[in-house]
Symmetry: C2
Subunit: 214 residues, 2 copies
C-alpha cells in the first residue's frame, strides 16, 4: 500500500502528467500503453516512466505494457484524488473569479464549495453556483462543508494575514496565487502558483535559446 522508500519530488509532479495522458488515451480507446509511448508524448524517457511507477508497485505486464483502465485508478489512489476534495476560494478578484469558473477542477474531484471576500457589494451573491461569504464565516463553513483546501487569491498586502485565518479555520492545504512565501505552521501544506515567476523563467529560456542560435 504505502511506498517503502522516500518518493522523489519530481516523480510526484510527473504522476499527474501520466494520469492526464492516460485519460486522453482512454478517451481515444487505447486499452494498453507502454512506458515508451506514454513517455514520448510527454517528453520523458521510458526508463523514467517505469522508475516512477515502480516506486509504488508493479502495474505493468512484460511484453504488453500498462493497462490504461487499470493504471488510472492506481494513479488516482497514489495522488489521493480517488475521493473528492472540497475547496474554498478566498479572495474573489479577477483571479478568484476565473478560478471559480475553471472547468477542470470538478472532473478531477476538486469541488469549490464556497468563496470568501470582504467586499460588501458581492457578499451573498453566487458565482458559478458558489456563494460568496464574509471572512468571519470561514471557520464555520470549513467545518460544516468539510473544506480541506483553500485557494488564496487575495491582494499581496493581506496575503499572510488571510493565510493565518485559513490555518486557524482548519484548512489543511493552501494553493497560493500570491507572489510571496506564505508562512504556515506544521501540518499545513502550501503549493504556489506565481505568474510573474513563470514569465521570468520564460524570459530566461527565450534569451538562452536566442543566445544559442547566435
Amino acid at each position: 500500500m504505502s511506498q517503502r522508500q522516500p518518493i522523489p519530488r519530481p516523480t510526484v509532479k510527473r504522476l499527474s502528467l501520466y494520469l492526464r495522458e492516460l485519460e486522453v488515451r482512454q478517451e481515444a480507446g487505447s486499452s494498453t500503453v507502454s512506458s515508451r509511448t506514454l513517455g514520448e508524448t510527454l517528453g520523458i524517457t521510458d526508463a523514467q516512466v517505469r522508475r516512477d511507477l515502480g516506486h509504488f508497485g508493479q502495474f505493468g505486464q512484460p511484453g504488453i505494457g500498462y493497462s490504461v483502465e487499470g493504471l488510472i485508478p492506481e494513479l488516482k489512489s497514489i495522488l489521493k484524488i480517488d475521493r473528492g476534495w472540497n475547496a474554498a476560494v478566498i479572495g474573489v478578484g479577477n483571479i478568484g473569479r476565473a478560478l471559480l469558473h475553471y472547468p477542470r477542477f470538478g472532473p478531477k474531484g476538486f469541488h469549490i464549495v464556497a468563496a470568501f471576500d470582504i467586499d460588501d457589494s458581492i457578499l451573498g451573491t453566487t458565482i458559478n453556483g458558489c456563494q460568496v461569504h464574509a471572512m468571519d464565516e470561514l471557520e464555520s463553513c470549513v467545518k460544516s462543508q468539510e473544506i480541506r483546501m483553500g485557494i488564496l487569491s487575495v491582494p499581496l498586502s493581506v496575503a499572510q494575514d488571510v493565510a493565518d485565518m485559513m490555518v486557524t479555520a482548519g484548512i489543511r492545504g493552501i494553493l497560493n496565487f500570491t507572489p510571496i512565501r506564505i508562512d504556515v505552521g506544521g501540518g499545513v501544506d502550501v503549493v504556489s502558483v506565481d505568474f510573474s515567476r513563470a514569465l521570468e523563467q520564460l524570459a530566461y529560456q527565450v534569451s538562452a535559446a536566442e543566445g544559442r542560435a547566435h
Copy 2:
C-alpha cells in the same frame, strides 16, 4: 558576462525568488543582506544561495553580505528582465481576462500590448487598455508591436492549433495555461502553468502530511 558552466534548472527558478525578496528588502530600507538571512525567509540554505549566485559571478562582500541595491540589477540582467518584454494574451476567456488585469506584470517589465480571440462580440473592445484583435491579425501585430511572448489561455480543444499559429506568427516564448503539453519546433520555448496539477500536488502533500501525523 556569460556563465562558464551549465546552470542547474533549479537555480534559475530560485533566482526570481531572490529577486522578489531583495525588492521587498529594498522597500524596507535594507542596504545589505547575507546569504543566511536571504535564504531564511525563503526556506533555502545559505550555502545554496551562495552557490546559486556564484554561478554568475562574485557579487558579495566577505564580512558584509550582498548589496541589495547592487544585486537587484545583476539578477535582472541574469534573468534578462533588465529591458521590457512585450506579450500578447491569446484567448480572452476567464483566465485571459484575469491576466489582462494582473497588476504585477508591468512592474516586472512584462507589457501585455495586445489580446486575441475569435469571439465577434468582444473583437475591437479594449480590456484594461488592451485592444482585442481577431486571430488573423496575430502575425502583423507580433511584427508591428514587437511581441515576443504569448500567453496561451484558450480552450483545450484548440490549444495546439493556436500554438501553431503563435509559432508561425513569430512568437518566441509561450506561457501555456492549457493542461496539455504544447508541441513547438526548436527555437520556441514553453513554460506551463497548470492549476489542476497544482491542486493534485497539494492533495498528495496534504495526505502525506496527515499520514505522517498518524
